[in-house]
């Protein structure tokens, strides 16, 4: 049950395809979790660390800022490099390159380096060292409707999965310390490393899809991914009236997979207008067609979370 006595339940919003409305819906859930007759204390997690947008609506204060140190990358000491090229031979990422045409010196392209250190062990001069990289920042903030854990991965960095794991762990600890029963996690697009990290330990996934060929193609991929990790998944269709044939196809798919479509949110310009105003749609336009459906959707999600095993 969503009571302060139990371990926090984790609700994650995912989609496969990007831009289906995960963040707009997460923001509305943040609002509704505090608004309804029985508010549920919740902590929010923006797990889309390379395109972190939940904060643009929930407006966190950035109260606590922490450095995120990811993996290391190689660096060649030009004083000791003799230009033998062993580093280039062993590097499978094309990161070790001569600095000039005569190959007198080599250097590492930091954007290409995978951090494997093969060159470090291959260098006969011991001229290569691994240097740890700060790859981003993470924050524990006070925001509208509750605390939020969010992060910024510096552009082009690796380890977004590790950063997601970091903020999720911190959010779980904070929930435990303050007897908060619910984490609402705004997930990343795709099905790979950051999605797997964001979904680990989730009690329920809500897949936000759209009734397009591309949306449905990627819905199937995220659904199978969640099934592989044994995370129960429900489906909601956003922009449902744009292409009714697509809705029929999703309903059939949900049926075949013994899942369920629990909401069909109509296309509604107020969702975008709310985003422009920096508000959840349920605050900006509480009686809009989308907000009405989202109200009911939230009630269903709470009910289903209560039914998940403790």
């Amino acid at each position: 049950m969503l009571t302060p006595n139990s371990q926090a339940k984790q609700l994650i919003l995912l989609s496969g395809k990007g831009g289906t409305g995960k963040t707009s819906l997460s923001a509305a859930f943040a609002h509704l979790s505090q608004k309804s007759g029985h508010p549920i204390p919740a902590i929010f997690v923006d797990a889309d660390v390379d395109a972190a947008n939940l904060g643009l609506v929930l407006q966190p204060d950035g109260a606590q800022q922490h450095e995120f140190w990811g993996g290391s990358i190689a660096e060649i000491d030009p004083e000791n490099c003799i230009g033998c090229g062993r580093c280039e031979e062993v590097c499978r990422y094309d990161a070790a390159l001569p600095t000039d045409e005569k190959h007198t010196l080599y250097e590492i392209d930091p954007l290409a380096c995978d951090g494997c250190a093969a060159c470090v062990y291959a260098c006969p001069q011991d001229a290569i060292n691994m240097t740890r990289q700060q790859e981003g920042l993470w924050f524990h903030s006070h925001a509208k409707y509750g605390d939020i854990f969010h992060a910024e991965l510096f552009p082009g960095k690796e380890n977004s999965g590790k950063l997601v794991t970091t903020i999720k762990q911190q959010a779980r600890l904070a929930a435990e310390d303050n007897a908060i029963p619910l984490l609402i996690i705004d997930g990343p697009p795709g099905i790979g490393c950051p999605v797997i990290s964001a979904s680990a330990g989730a009690d329920l996934a809500l897949i936000v899809t759209e009734p397009s060929k591309a949306g449905i193609h990627d819905l199937k991929r995220i659904f199978e991914t969640l099934r592989h990790f044994r995370i129960p998944a429900l489906i909601c269709i956003n922009k449902a009236d744009i292409y009714p044939q697509g809705v029929q196809e999703i309903l059939r798919y949900a049926d075949e997979q013994q899942s369920e479509v629990i909401a069909e949110i109509p296309f509604d310009a107020s969702i975008t207008h709310a985003m422009v105003q920096g508000q959840p749609v349920t605050v900006y336009a509480p009686h809009s067609p989308a907000s009405r459906v989202i109200h009911d959707l939230w009630s269903t999600v709470v009910q289903r979370l209560n039914q998940t095993e403790d």
Partner: protein, 290 residues
Amino acid sequence: MRIAVASGKGGTGKTTVATSLALSLANEQNIRFLDCDVEAPNAHLFLNPSFTKRQDAAILIPEIDAEQCTLCGKCVEVCQFHALAKVGKSILTFAQLCHGCGSCTWNCPVNAIQEIPNPIGKLESGLTPESIQFSRGVLTISEPMSTPIIRQLKRWEQPQPEQLTILDSPPGASCAVVETLRGADFALLVTEPTPFGLHDLNQIIGIVQEFNIPAGVVVNRDGIGNDVINAFHDKHNIPVLLRIPFSLEIAAGLSAGTSLIEIKPDLRQEFLHMFTQITRIVKTTEEGEK
């Protein structure tokens, strides 16, 4: 020339723009199209290739010959990704953590390790009805690492001389996007006129600037939000090359798998015009570098 279509934010229309650019030019250019969004590949839905070639995308992982292994632990020491562990009287391999760098194999003092391919996805290619040479990578469900597949996809089939390569990037701004943009001559950044679109456009600009590749912006669904993109243009001096208006007709057509230039044939001229501008910018940049 290689044009990478990227965005930061997901769902802004990368695939819509990349496929429409390819279709607009198909009559006059020899085109190679790479769908690098290996976690959620969608370009085939609009270009309808017939796949005639398939290959596993694999990472080389270590296989340890227990009879030769002396349990010295060197392989565990050199692995930076904790993909090997010494447990009791054996060395365990965790395939999903392995980056396939080869370091353990070379550093084993008794040559007890050989590398074996561990498939994490597949590569597929074939021609579209317009004779676009289409290829894509597909990450296997539950596998975490997409970047090695993108790297292999880019090297799989070499471009022919004078061929125009269009790369459809994954969303985000992390390593998979870096791999897609590496070596591109031009970055075409697709955004939508909203605070989310602008925020994520600023993320990807960081990568584009580090690579020092020229870029241009496509504003998709123009009219749905606010005009934050002009401020972006003023700050970074990156030109807006095309605006695609928002319309429910376009949204419905794309949902059905119809390409943008079939829904709005008038836009073909605008895509061709954009391509002329891109060609000019790339040429000017190359001359500047000389």
